[in-house]
Symmetry: C2
DNA sequence: AGAAAAATACTTGTATACATATATACAGTA
DNA sequence: TACTGTATATATGTATACAAGTATTTTTCT
């Protein structure tokens, strides 16, 4: 998040570590957080741990129960669909704005990333890396800090589902071609078109992910 | 926010009261929050106050300084433009989904709200009320809780700018006609069209707000 | 034995005390 | 006078102690 305090306070390290554990599913969905135990486990006292927990609650990476406990939210197919939709809306907006504001240097940088993207299309991890770089560059060019903030939040959420939405070679090829179209649209100076392409691109990723998930046996959690 | 704990804990009342003071500009933009003073002012100790403050920071209604103080974010024209854009993206998405999922009863409810909207078009407060009711109904029909959450966050933010973006009669008439078009689009079953109309509708509101602000002398802060 | 009631253990919420960092004011020196 | 170094005061970060509420287990009564 942009507002991460650079200082190495105990609350901050607790936040980072707890978030990591949640996103990697090291803390299992549905699991409850007990403050005293978690505090000693992370080597801080309850006060800074509590601060980290409350922050994660407001980022929706933890969930406060009405009865008064805190737990790791369970995974669910509807949620992942919602997340993709919001991501589509954000990337669409950013593509539109990037199109309006991009300088020649920005366009060149986008083409550079695209080339690297093409070079690694057969390696899942590198391909995702470059895909994210492309989106990051577009986001930076768009210059809407709120869109970026929400996009980051959604991306964090989606990490929890990563294991269920493994990408196939076919999917990566499709993504690469969509990225090409997207960069062309941004470079072409047609904001409406860029927005639509970005939207459809993410929605296609959503459909692929949902298909991959329903293929994975009982599915979630 | 949906995740507001219903319990009447001290941290919660501090959060609500502090948020109110920020949104009504009772706490002035740029003003710093001193924990001991604010805690006694709100009648709680530093611990629950701190919890409220940290939560407001992660909702971007307070700002942590690198040096270590907390202050009320200053207002700025770029931000309001960004907020409108994100709101446009969210409402566009929700209009699309509402279009896909709306039942006959939903459509009827929308028409009812529209009628009430028309009846109060000359009263600024009531008109805004009904406008929000319309958007709320669409949001409910769309059924994307994340879109809703972000939309709510943005709306909260925008309250701080309310005093600067007073609506004119002309603007209200325009909004009513756009609402009519929007409901027709949602009812008509064309998701793409509904999405585009919602987007343009909010962007038009943005332009009106920016014009109103630049008319208000030195403007902001 | 089964159900209701009481007691116990544990968790969360809050206050407060203490340590550390930061800013302010003052004094001494160039 | 301007500047640096020191001392003081104040704010933030953290730990801990205590209060209040909840769940669980044990005990008692039918």
């Amino acid at each position: 998040m942009p507002d991460t305090p650079a200082r190495n306070t105990g609350a901050h390290v607790a936040y980072v570590e707890l978030k990591r554990q949640i996103l990697t599913l090291q803390l299992k969905p549905g699991e409850r957080i007990y403050e005293p135990a978690m505090a000693t486990a992370l080597g801080v006292s309850r006060t800074p741990l509590r601060e980290a927990v409350r922050r994660l609650i407001s980022e929706n990476l933890l969930e406060q129960q009405p009865t008064g406990g805190v737990l790791v939210p369970v995974l669910d197919e509807n949620v992942i669909s919602e997340l993709y939709e919001v991501r589509a809306a954000m990337e669409s907006l950013m593509a539109r704005n990037a199109c309006l504001k991009a300088t020649a240097a920005d366009i060149e940088a986008l083409h550079g990333i695209l080339a690297r993207n093409a070079a690694v299309v057969e390696f899942a991890d590198d391909a995702m890396q470059q895909g994210m770089a492309l989106h990051a560059k577009i986001a930076g060019t768009a210059g809407n800090s709120w869109a970026r903030r929400f996009h980051d939040q959604v991306s964090s959420q989606m990490e929890r589902y990563r294991h269920f939405t493994n990408s196939t070679q076919e999917r990566r090829d499709q993504a690469l071609s969509q990225h090409r179209t997207l960069v062309e649209a941004v470079a072409g100076g047609n904001p409406e078109k860029a927005a639509k392409i970005a939207f459809d691109h993410v929605m296609a990723a959503r459909d692929a992910a949902l298909r991959a998930m329903s293929g994975n046996g009982p599915g979630i959690s």
